[in-house]
């Protein structure tokens, strides 16, 4: 019997999902910051009881967490030294030398994770092609080891120039540190992120070193506590690239766990995309503070090899820290149920990114929140049931919402409360729609051809309006949407992506040299995968990052095999041009093409998701209550059908305007859409023909 549990530690809640042959049990408990493993054990206990499963029946635990991201945001990490090439001590402080906000004279740049006095320099230099220009001497190594010892550091990151091309100096430095200082955690950029471009590579190795001791310690405690409790099942970690790695790998390379929770959500959405035969899906996850959007094509979330964490300035691009590690590519914007609305100096409604979070929360929670939030606006517009929120556990006060909306918005705008509340939801929907549109445009896609998959507490409230704005015709709201990430963990393969910066022009392409690199990458990735998966069958994927010579952006070109044939340069050029054409609508004649970074992904195969057939026949839902809600498309209050999601069975149809309620959230069906309950419990919401 296979009994697997996915556990996701989020900022507010720790979620668990247990899957056993009889079905699925899920729960949410509050995250325990001091002792995260305690909340995990509590959640596991609850789902095991609910499913009637004994601890020793559990066969596998899969764990994802935002703890790593939070440690970086909150600067709770180890006392870390950074050893780098002389002349490059300030790369992480100088950043890109620009200002991410043009008009703010009082702009503050985020402080580097490792302050200047803890950044030490080695006299060494490797050239772009890997040649050694300045040999790293043993004396210098010894001097640096002493400096680390004297400084009392818990962790050391080593990042030398062009170490992706020749890691020898980093390895010698690392070996000396490990030998002399066994208690100190050592991270090398050539191991953690061997890709060209010093700023993201240095950021990545520093982030890794900074969180490594705490994460290793936490994972150690977790496995020990599980064992004490009688759970002997192996634990695996869900990484930000959307796959599983061993506890040991995670403890060594915790930077791979960044964003693992949200990535789980994307995998969750991908499962529903496959089950419903959706080729192009857009996952939309909206919580209390942020919304995340991810493209899922051919059943797989879009991936990337760099992303920006810990943005410090209104979620503005450039205000965080760019790291390079394989990730599910997502756009995140400061839009959630708790986002606060205000009127600016120009008389415009602004929503977010400041959020009331869950404490004090929206005004309607009556826990001290005194600013109008998106949730207050939704309540004012009738989209939330004041008595049924969170299964009735949190009574909502519409008068409190209206009072703050009137005070902060209606009065300055000179409109009534409904119009102001509409302005708030419309503005937040607009912000999310714009972010989604830009994201698909950046990938050369038309958003109209996508199906949206909405989950997370806030998404079902906003999704149909978003679809209306974006011209999206189909929307899926899966069941269990509140614990989507934890369920997503259960759908993931074992996988590892090994990357390397290796510069090659196609007109001077050395197939043998490239294959030698690829062989190493494959072996490296396979070794990590085997730690969890033994000798299970695997598949591999090669991503080559290419551009025209002289350009600054690489675009990813994906191949099914990580070993190249003699005709590779021609083949790569053809694939590059096809990808370029798709993204930019044209190719450029007469220019050479070059490859910069290479990534080999090895993963186990996951069982095909079972296709969910459309219900045999449709039956209208019977007599139900109605509720007055504001329909944004019609720009008017309408009587909406109100049904409980639990009361719907496969094939039952609900025509918008409608509200489908469940304990964790409500799904709003706009007047121009209609929903049909599917056999797997998902709501399929489609644009009405007449409106199309």
């Amino acid at each position: 019997m296979s009994v697997r549990i996915g556990v996701d530690i989020g900022g507010t809640f720790t979620d668990a999902a247990l899957e056993h042959p009889g079905g699925l049990a899920t729960t949410k408990v509050l995250t325990d910051y001091a002792e995260p493993e305690a909340a995990i054990l509590k959640a596991i206990r609850i789902v095991c009881e609910e499913a009637g499963v004994a601890f020793d029946d559990v066969t596998q635990i899969i764990h994802g967490t935002t703890l790593v991201t939070n440690a970086l945001i909150e600067r709770r990490g180890a006392r870390t030294a950074f050893i780098t090439t002389e002349g490059f001590r300030d790369v992480i402080e100088m950043r890109s030398e620009n200002r991410f906000e043009q008009y703010d004279l009082n702009l503050v740049l985020p402080a580097p994770l490792v302050p200047r006095e803890d950044r030490l320099v080695a006299r060494e230099r490797v050239a772009a092609n890997g040649d050694v220009l300045l040999e790293l001497s043993d004396a210098d190594i010894a001097r640096l080891v002493e400096a680390v010892r004297d400084g009392g550091y818990e962790a050391v990151a080593v990042g030398f120039m062009h170490a992706y091309a020749n890691p020898d100096h980093e390895r010698r430095m690392g070996a000396a540190l490990i030998e002399a200082l066994p208690g100190v955690s050592v991270s090398l950029s050539s191991v953690v992120s061997p890709q060209m471009r010093e700023l993201p590579r240095f950021n990545t190795v520093i982030a890794n070193a900074y969180v490594q001791p705490r994460v290793a310690d936490y994972l150690g405690r977790l496995t020990a506590r599980l064992a004490e409790t009688g759970i002997s099942a192996p634990v695996f970690l869900f990484h930000s690239g959307g796959g599983l790695i061993s506890v040991e790998t995670a403890a060594q390379q915790p930077v791979r766990l960044l964003e693992s929770g949200p990535a789980g959500g994307a995998i969750f959405a991908a499962g529903y995309a496959q089950a419903h035969g959706v080729e192009k899906a857009l996952s939309f996850d909206m919580g209390g503070t942020t919304a995340k959007i991810c493209m899922v094509e051919g059943g797989a979330p879009k991936s990337a090899n760099t992303f920006e964490i810990a943005r410090t300035y209104r979620f503005k691009k450039g205000s965080g820290m760019t790291v390079s590690t394989p990730v599910v590519e997502m756009v995140e914007i400061g839009a959630g149920g708790g986002s606060i609305a205000s009127v600016d100096a120009l008389g415009r409604i602004q929503v977010g990114p400041k959020s009331a979070g869950s404490e004090p929360g929206p005004a309607c929670y009556q826990r001290g929140g005194d600013a109008p939030t998106v949730t207050d606006a939704n309540l004012t517009l009738g989209r939330l049931d004041p008595d049924g929120f969170a299964g009735g556990k949190i009574p909502l006060d519409p008068d409190a919402s209206l009072a703050v909306i009137d005070r902060d918005l209606s009065v300055p705008l000179g409109v009534d409360g409904t119009e102001a509340a509409f302005g708030v939801t419309e503005m937040v929907d607009e912000n999310m729609a714009n972010a989604a549109r830009v994201h698909t445009v950046e990938h050369g896609r038309d958003i109209e051809h996508f199906t949206m998959i909405a989950f997370g507490g806030g998404a079902p409230l906003h999704a149909s309006r978003l679809c209306e704005k974006l011209g999206i015709k189909r929307l899926i709201v899966p069941p269990g949407a509140g614990v989507g990430s934890a369920i997503g963990f259960l759908r993931a393969p074992f996988s590892y992506e090994a990357t390397r910066g290796f510069y090659q022009r196609l007109d001077a392409f050395d197939v043998a040299a490239v294959n030698a690199v690829l062989t190493e990458l494959r072996a490296e990735a396979l070794a990590f995968v085997s730690e969890g998966a033994g000798d299970a069958a695997v598949e591999e994927r090669l991503t080559v990052f290419m551009r025209y010579v002289g350009q600054g952006w690489e675009i990813p070109v994906v191949l099914e095999s990580a070993s190249l044939e003699a005709g590779a340069p021609e083949d790569l050029r053809a694939r590059f041009e096809a990808a370029y054409q798709e993204l930019f609508g044209r190719i450029i004649e007469g220019l050479e093409v070059e490859a910069t970074n290479w990534a080999v992904n090895v993963s186990t195969q996951v069982a095909d998701v079972k296709r969910v057939d459309a219900p045999a026949g449709l039956s209208p839902v019977g007599d139900s209550e109605t509720r007055s809600i504001f329909d944004a498309g019609l720009r008017a209050r309408v009587d909406a059908v109100e049904v409980r999601r639990d009361d719907l069975s496969a094939g039952m149809a609900v025509s918008g305007p409608a509200v489908i309620t469940e304990n964790e959230t409500s799904t709003i069906i706009a007047a121009s859409y209609a929903a049909v309950m599917q056999a797997d419990g998902a709501l399929l919401i489609s644009r009405k023909e007449s409106a199309a």
């Binding site: 002349g87 890109s96 620009n98 200002r99 702009l107 050239a127 008389g347």
Partner: protein, 548 residues
């Protein structure tokens, strides 16, 4: 149903996304390094009356605000009766575009149901435009390359092949320069598609009402902000290095009620070299500076730009006349905000920063085989680098950060793949921030050497070597810039020079000025700076009186 205020707000918000998409399309398809890597571009939507109503927040102020004026010139020259659906217009006229020949501005009229309703415009810095290449050495604009007068790049969908042929035959990089023109046209198209979808959604057929709403709200907010600045006349003078002779920049601000006028009367005359600045570019940066200090939260559009009246006497170096050379107009252009903010300081104490390095230290490196017979290929490498910004009233200056320009630097590792050079050093220049209660931002030190078999030329166009950034309110000046070989041999801060194999070029970028007297700096901050090595023990002791 006519749109309500909320509808207009939503559409305004959408327009920002529309022009962002326009800019994104350009950034991702352009060839020019400065566009792609450094954001040297602009994109915007204009109404039928050629008033800019939305602009992408990417881009540099010099481009953006200059482009805002340019569409008016297009309308005047093309003539309303000759504007057809499917047209695309082009120019790189420095006086009608954005200040030098390397910037190409393209304008696409927007039609809806056969009626002309507005324009999209985009500007990008192209790799090459012929002539002498990018540099200050021309004596007249004619030598700086091809000038494309305002003309139709395409008429009713038909691209002007004659124009393309002329361009192709007159530039060194025909594929890339012409490619960038098509990128500009494509980015305008991308914006147009999205605008049309928005108009469909809101069921309106023109943008006149929306334009009035945006411009009126922006104008009102800007005027209200100006009205809060005390009335008066405020003068400031600043001396900078210039090219062949020092340049005096002088400005008078006259503030009365909700009007503000900046007049550069008294500024030095034109240079014989290409550092002259067309007035449009001066206006762009002067306006940017005033806006940052007075009304930073108001979006950039014709309504928010209009209240700032900026003028410079024709024939001064900040309002160069044809046919003056203007290729590197950005160097003095970048210094304009310092002189303007200095004048504003008298009106708005505790708001504006001290002077900074301000002008970028861009290095164009031409690597050449030491032995021409060796057959080693030549290579061109471009680097953008910034010194320190001036200290702010309550905050230290930003080290090695561009201001007022909005550009970014490039990765050294990537740069070393472009050409046969080694950058031995690119780190903060210790002790270069002007001392003060708030310290100026530090400059940086860059050391570059050619790899085996190569020498390299570099084109120096560096300011603040003889005239460092001044402090404010008792703050000290930032360290002046320096250009030398690592051996200590001094080099000129202007002009093309050779660095032979085995020698290292060392650039010491200027620091920003300090703010307030150094003795007012909190002990903790001095201690922190000392520990981080941002100041020397000697400076800590002698300037800050820190003696343990």
């Amino acid at each position: 149903m006519s749109p309500s205020s909320i509808d207009y707000q939503i559409m305004w918000n959408r327009l920002i996304a529309v022009v962002e998409e326009q800019a994104t399309t350009l950034i991702r398809t352009a060839f020019s390094t400065s566009v792609r890597e450094a954001g040297d571009l602009s994109a915007g939507l204009f109404d039928r009356q050629a008033r800019m109503i939305a602009q992408a927040v990417t881009g540099t102020p010099g481009h953006v605000n200059a482009m805002a004026e340019s569409v008016g010139h297009f309308v005047a020259e093309i003539g309303a009766q000759s504007i057809f659906e499917g047209d695309v217009y082009i120019t790189n006229d420095p006086w009608k575009g954005t200040g030098h020949l390397h910037d190409i501005t393209m304008v696409t009229p927007v039609f809806r149901k056969g009626v002309h309703i507005g324009f999209f415009a985009g500007t990008a810095h192209v790799v090459d435009i012929g002539g002498r290449g990018f540099g200050p050495d021309a004596g007249e604009v004619f030598e700086e390359g091809l000038l494309i007068p305002i003309s139709k790049f395409a008429e009713q969908g038909q691209v002007n092949d004659f124009l393309l042929k002329i361009v192709r035959e007159n530039v060194r990089t025909p594929d890339q320069t012409v490619g960038d023109m098509f990128s500009l046209a494509a980015c305008n198209d991308a914006g147009n598609r999205r605008l049309q979808a928005m108009l469909d959604e809101f069921d309106v057929d023109d943008i006149d009402g929306l334009s009035e709403f945006i411009l009126e709200a922006s104008r009102r907010a800007t005027r209200a902000a100006i009205a809060r600045v005390p009335d008066g006349r405020f003068d400031n003078t600043m001396q900078v290095d210039g090219y062949d002779a020092p340049v005096r920049m002088q400005v008078r601000l006259e503030i009365e009620g909700d009007r503000i006028v900046a007049d550069f009367d008294g500024t030095s005359g034109m240079s014989a070299f290409g550092v002259n600045v067309p007035e449009v570019y001066t206006r762009a940066y002067a306006c940017y500076a005033l806006k940052c200090a007075i009304a930073p939260e108001v979006p950039n559009n014709a309504g928010s730009l209009e209240p700032f009246e900026i003028t410079a006497p024709e024939g001064c170096i900040l309002a160069a006349k044809r046919p003056a050379p203007v290729s590197v107009r950005h160097v003095l252009g970048h210094l304009v905000p310092d002189v303007v903010l200095g004048a504003l300081h008298a009106a708005l104490p505790d708001t504006v920063p001290a002077e900074g390095a301000s002008a970028l230290w861009n290095i164009q490196i031409s690597a050449r085989a030491s032995d021409p017979e060796s057959g080693l290929p030549s290579a061109e490498v471009l680097m953008f680098n910034s010194g320190g910004t001036g200290a702010r009233p309550t905050l230290d200056g930003l080290s090695a950060t561009a201001f007022p320009s909005g550009v970014s630097t490039m990765s050294v590792e990537a740069t070393e793949h472009v050409g046969p050079i080694v950058v031995w050093r690119k780190d903060l220049r210790e002790g270069s921030g002007g001392a003060g209660a708030r310290r100026g931002g530090l400059g940086q030190i860059i050391e570059i050497e050619a790899r085996d078999g190569y020498d390299f030329y570099f084109n120096a166009m560096f300011d603040r070597v003889d005239h460092p950034a001044r402090g404010r309110n008792g703050g000290r000046t930032g360290a002046p810039g320096g250009v030398e070989l690592a051996s200590g041999e001094k080099l000129r801060s202007k002009g093309r020079q050779l660095v032979r194999n085995g020698e290292r070029l060392r650039l010491s970028l200027p620091g920003g000025g300090g703010y307030g007297p150094p003795e007012d700096r909190e002990r903790k901050r001095v201690e922190d700076d000392l520990r981080a090595g941002l100041i020397s023990a000697q400076d800590a002791k002698e300037i800050y009186g820190f003696d343990d």
